[in-house]
Symmetry: C2
Subunit: 791 residues, 2 copies
């Protein structure tokens, strides 16, 4: 059978597979699970049919608790019911989960697993949420990649129906839920064949029905509750075989072998990692690398976490194993070990020749988990007394739990090319990159992976797009650290972020800027120059900003940058890429008319042509550099506050995307999550290309500019005479209009360094009193106007 390949993220894969088996979806959105519900909603609205031939009925509730109640009620009414959630959303479902399990209802929850709000909230991925539900009586199924989500999400539904035990299927929030991969799509026809129709019929028959009423939801006393809890044992006992059987069927269809526990590695492994989720993919890369070197290592990837089946575990574990490291993506303070570790120790307890077992925490809140970290875990197991209760991926210099991690390992298939893009939230960089992945994934034989790192600022924040392309399936479930191609859409980032230190030998760096070659050479800081020279990399600039204006695309530089990427990165021949880009542009913009399509064609053509190469001087390798996370010059002016200890120690590194490297000790004194106020004063990024210049004469004092500014960068002030006397010369004002304002003057103050250059203010101004001009013009007046009025 021909494989149907498609490029999608984990959420889409889960939504697709679960849609097949879902009649009712009771939902409430929460990051990073929301797209699952959104896809379901969209497809249902379009009339897409599940395997029963009807669209899903989707109901959005007032909270995740309400969604859980709906799932419970809908299941009791005889409808196959699903929900999608994460984090606190899952916590709110726990009471209903006990009920759904207790009443043996085949509901399914798909969870893009996420951290929990403790010392701070986090929208990112780990397993704290799913572990908080491990005692509810739900069966739990883990998948490790977008392809596994696609292949196994249906097993949760199939096995729930057959076993009567509800399923929670989970995969890593963001790392899997938002990672775009080229995957083989399951066919609904194949899935449909796997349904236990008799079980479905019985499920329908058990539905609450006034025609044959029964009593459910009773209260039981101390006399019979215990017995009725134990009479369910056989249903749980049956789950592993049911799941294993379905996995066999899926393996037949896909050619990928699935079991409740999958083993990967040396058949005679002595050191083994046990884990769940995306880390298993990276671990496979490390195992290939080590096994090739003759090391006896392996991995057990846990798919069926609950019920935990000793039988299937020992079926796959090599008899030769002497040491085990269990990795848990969670932290349970005060426990003797994280949950999976406790299970594995219990599993081997009192067994003959029981291996040495240690456990560790990794990857909390999407902390990047790299091959070097996995290697450190294997290295730890080499010791006679391997460190237990360790952490890996951070430097714990306080309670000294962390493993030492060696230098980065480049383990991806040699055919794989990695690219890294720095963009401004909402500037279109991420969208263009998703587009590029789809082009490459869907139009060529190459595999493609995209992961998009945001901060929580959403619009206006810094985005990093991590793209990989290669001839083999891509298992690198971690950020790109050694890119062959780096692009930067925002020249201000040069002074803020380290974009180039990891560039691969012979790599390319593309910078969008309004500078000439000479200006660029002057403006590009030493660290970038040195990185490029040391790595024999190439440097390119493009004035996509001017080009977009010129073509008529306004501030939308992304298509130009995309074209430049295809030209420089050489993933596929440029002529093909050019045609694909145009095909996609036509598809995307046809509705908006031929003119817009043509503008994008122009952008595609020009983007490739207007690239300017700047020769990299080998002497740059010896340039002196200042560390990036030091206070910036522009923050050092007379009007700015001095850095506090907190700002120096934490805020500066975090703003420089160097928070990853902060050791645990940096947070001593802030253990309860307390942060200082007013830190945005130290984050004046100056990322805008153009910022508004106020025309005092045209202004009608309507204040609408301030109202629409998403970053509070433009504000109206009323100033009295005393204040006016203290103001600098360039402090233009006009008489304030309005009742009772007779003695005051009015001024619009722009903080150029806070502005992201979105132009909303200028667009909304009814008097055309705001003109978007290059930021340099505003910054020149910095000392005069950016006075302490604004702080």
């Amino acid at each position: 059978m021909a494989k149907k390949m498609q490029t999608m993220d984990g959420n889409q894969a889960a939504a697709y597979a679960s849609y097949a088996f879902t009649e009712v979806a009771g939902i409430y959105p929460i990051t990073p699970s929301s797209p699952m519900a959104e896809y379901t909603d969209e497809w249902a609205a379009k009339g897409m049919k599940n395997i029963f031939g009807v669209p899903v009925k989707l109901v959005e509730l007032q909270s995740e608790g309400g969604a859980a109640g709906t799932v419970h009620g809908s299941l009791q009414a005889g409808a196959l019911t699903t929900t999608y959630t994460a984090s606190q959303g899952l916590l709110l479902k726990i009471p209903n989960m006990y009920k759904i399990a207790g009443e043996l209802l085949p509901g399914v929850i798909h969870v893009s697993a996420r951290a929990l709000s403790a010392q701070a909230l986090s929208i990112f991925g780990d397993h704290q949420d799913i572990y908080a539900a491990r005692q509810t009586g739900f069966a739990m199924l883990a998948t490790n990649s977008v392809q596994e989500v696609m292949d196994l999400a249906g097993v949760a539904h199939l096995a729930a129906l057959k076993s009567r035990v509800p399923f929670l299927h989970f995969f890593d929030g963001f790392r899997t839920s938002h990672e775009i991969q080229k995957v083989e799509v399951m066919e609904y026809d194949d899935l449909k064949k796997l349904v236990d129709w008799k079980a479905l019929e019985e499920f329908r028959q058990r539905a609450l029905n006034p025609e044959h009423p029964v009593t459910r939801g009773t209260a039981q006393n101390d006399d019979i509750y215990f017995q009725t809890r134990e009479v369910q044992n056989k249903f749980y006992d049956a789950v592993p075989d049911i799941v294993a059987d379905y996995m066999k069927e899926i393996s037949k269809i896909t050619g990928r072998e699935y079991k409740p526990f999958n083993y990967y590695g040396a058949p005679d492994a002595e050191r083994v990692i046990i884990a769940m989720g995306s880390v298993c993919e990276a671990a496979q890369e490390v195992i290939d690398y080590l096994v090739e070197k003759g090391e006896k290592v392996g991995l057990i990837s846990v798919h069926l976490y609950r019920p935990f089946s000793a039988k299937y575990f020992f079926d796959v574990l090599p008899k030769t194993v002497k040491k085990i490291s269990v990795l848990d993506r969670t932290k349970e303070p005060g426990s003797l070990g994280e949950p999976l570790l406790l299970d594995i120790k219990a599993l081997f307890y009192n067994k003959e020749n029981a291996p040495i077992i240690v456990g560790g925490r990794y990857g909390l809140s999407s902390k990047d988990t790299t091959p070097a970290q996995v290697l450190a875990v294997f290295e730890n197991l080499k010791k006679d007394e391997p460190k237990d209760a360790f952490t890996v991926g951070i430097v714990d210099d306080v309670t000294h739990t962390s493993l030492e991690v060696g230098p980065a390992l480049a383990l991806a298939d040699p055919s794989t090319k990695a690219c890294l893009f720095f963009g401004l939230g909402a500037d279109g960089t991420v969208g263009a990159n998703k587009n590029s992945i789809k082009i490459i994934g869907d139009k060529t034989d190459l595999y493609a992976q995209g992961y998009f790192a945001y901060d929580s600022k959403k619009s206006g924040g810094v985005t990093r797009s991590h793209l990989r392309f290669g001839k083999k399936p891509i298992r690198s479930t971690y950020l790109v650290s050694r890119p062959t191609f780096v692009a930067c859409s925002v020249p201000a980032y040069l002074h803020q972020y380290d974009m180039t230190s990891g560039i691969k030998e012979g790599g390319k760096f593309l910078l969008n800027c309004v500078w000439t070659k000479e200006e660029a050479l002057e403006n590009i800081p030493n660290n970038v120059k040195r990185d490029l020279a040391k790595n024999k990399a190439k440097l390119f600039i493009i004035n996509a900003t001017a080009l977009a204006q010129e073509i008529g695309l306004g501030q939308r530089t992304n298509t130009i940058m995309q074209a430049a990427f295809f030209k420089l990165a050489e993933i596929i021949p440029y002529e093909e890429a050019q045609q694909y880009m145009k095909d996609y542009a036509k598809k995307s913009y046809a509705k908006k008319g031929d003119e817009i399509v043509q503008l994008n064609y122009n952008a595609i053509d020009r983007g490739a042509n207007d690239i300017i190469e700047i020769e990299v001087d080998p002497a740059w390798a010896d340039l002196e550099v200042t560390p990036l996370n030091e206070p910036k010059e522009i923050g050092d002016c007379a009007y700015c506050q001095p850095d506090t200890e907190f700002v120096k120690k934490i805020v500066r590194p975090v703003n420089a995307i160097k928070g990853y490297d902060l050791p645990v000790s940096a947070f001593l004194g802030y253990e309860d999550g307390t942060f200082e106020n007013g830190t945005s004063a130290f984050e004046k990024r100056g990322v805008a290309v153009d910022v508004p210049i106020w025309d005092v004469n045209k202004c009608i004092q309507c204040n609408q500019c301030s109202y629409v500014c998403p970053h509070a960068a433009i504000r109206p002030f009323l100033i009295n005479n005393d204040e006016l006397k203290a103001a600098p010369n360039s402090f233009t004002t006009k008489k304030a209009t309005g009742k009772g304002l007779d003695d005051l003057v009015y001024r619009i103050q722009v903080s150029a360094l806070d502005c992201v250059g979105c132009g909303s203010c200028a667009n909304v101004c009814p008097a055309n009193a705001l003109d978007m001009r290059p930021i340099a013009e505003s910054l020149e007046a910095h000392e005069d106007v950016n006075a302490n009025l604004l702080i």
Copy 2:
């Protein structure tokens, strides 16, 4: 220092100790924790002061979730804040618990641990709820008896303040929360001395305050969340020592030795049980019994469950231990073992000479856990391969998890007298018994224990009061099965419940009935006669019903029965008891006037005097008996439905209080909690002494009788001509009054067997058309009038 002893239940003890340290209580009531909040509310309303000299500020929210949010917010505002909860209430607090722990706030939650709603709801006690919160980062402290609650509840507050880690203190719902015990009261002055005032001051300083604002509740990304989660390790590392130190202080004050783990038993024990909660008390009885026989057994009672301290555990564990049985009062379907078992296995993993460890479940939903069960656990450990993952306390004939339990063991101190009372919910039996315990507990040197078993019918259900009195502290945390004294307030129970099979040799059975000696002999069923004869027990009757009427107490027979109890049970000299009862009656009723006090004095005097002894014929030992849980004769009449399979197998035994003995297999086919409808038709108990007789002539058809009846036992009917023709002769009716009812007749129908005889209908009737008459008069007409109209 003179010990201040007081008789109270676990909830009162927890409320008392926690009140000392509480400034704000954010509450929402849930059984069985509600009294903790109610006591706090009452004391605060009366102006009782905490150790800081102010009354508690109590706030009731809209749900347990809201209460948790209030606790979180109030702690952030710098107030020492407490809440009380159980079961689903605790589940709703989980999201906030992560926050409270994450922000290192010294909040305290007192939990009367309760089962969770799964296949059915249960209000009764086990540890499912607290285990569902074990991963939140709260420290967790377990207490096993009312005295331990009193002694250690304060440690939760003290240690939370000092360590900055919030505490969850829990004890067994109902078994400890509602068990009345005579305990030594902690003095607030002693507790006050233990406060870490510096920590308190620092807590105040950290409070959110507009005068020195800080930012909390931030969002952290993948860069620093992991580090900030680990920087809290040291706070958790410090908790065990802090708790151990406070326990030492408490030990000094009380003379009772407390540690994070307490060991009890042979110093050279080879077989050890590890457990938490009230079972530890019963286990101590068994250990005394076995150690005396030379067996090497012991118990580790876990007080500090989280953080779990290996150091303090191994400090107390005898080096000689070879086999361990871990008892968990929970069930986590699909796990490899219940939580405490997993901890203990992890604790010993890879240790040299690691003992054999098995685990078992017991006591779900307050399932009575007896010495015989504990013995079975120790016996299991004698085997070379002890059964693992067992259950004890039920017969699991489906998945065969259960241990075989031998005959009941009587292990209480020989000075202990056990009494058992069968009453009708709201008839005053429980109240009178609580009164008796207080008299004995507070007025004498004897220890006293009271446990009150209800069904969920509340008013009108059958109540069983389990009382013990003795010279030593009472550790029998299980139901009375071998009473020396049994009282029954409701003669109808003779045919419904087994009250006498466990009576101790030479015991006494007191029956309240309206019968003469001869009538009683005729009415008392064979099983009772046989039990009494076999056990050489004595039989007494009293017509408390007539006596109460005569004295002027209406239906309130409880004071009379109490007097009879003191007379017959001989716990203390009757003359003393008489005086104490009168003192209490005066205290209770003085406000209602001298006349009421005198009526109670009369009841006390007459109750002791009007007892009639009936000679027990030794020949009764050979009488034939019919099993109790068979369909009753009165249910067998032509108008009643035949028993369904479900009724026979489950409803009848449950109604006969024999549900305890139902094996797991009884529930095959009902695994999802589905019960048949209409089972109340099979529960016609006939417990009323008097039931209403309808006077057709006086009735004005207002229907108020039906409106007020709490058991729907009296109902108005409109009957048409056809129906009337089919009715029996005694079916009196009158012309229906009201618009459009011209062709109908009206009748009030009383179901005597459903009536509990409360008399509400007669009281409310404005026409005096209802007369409360002995149930026999109504039952005589049963076949005629209790027609299928009512079913």
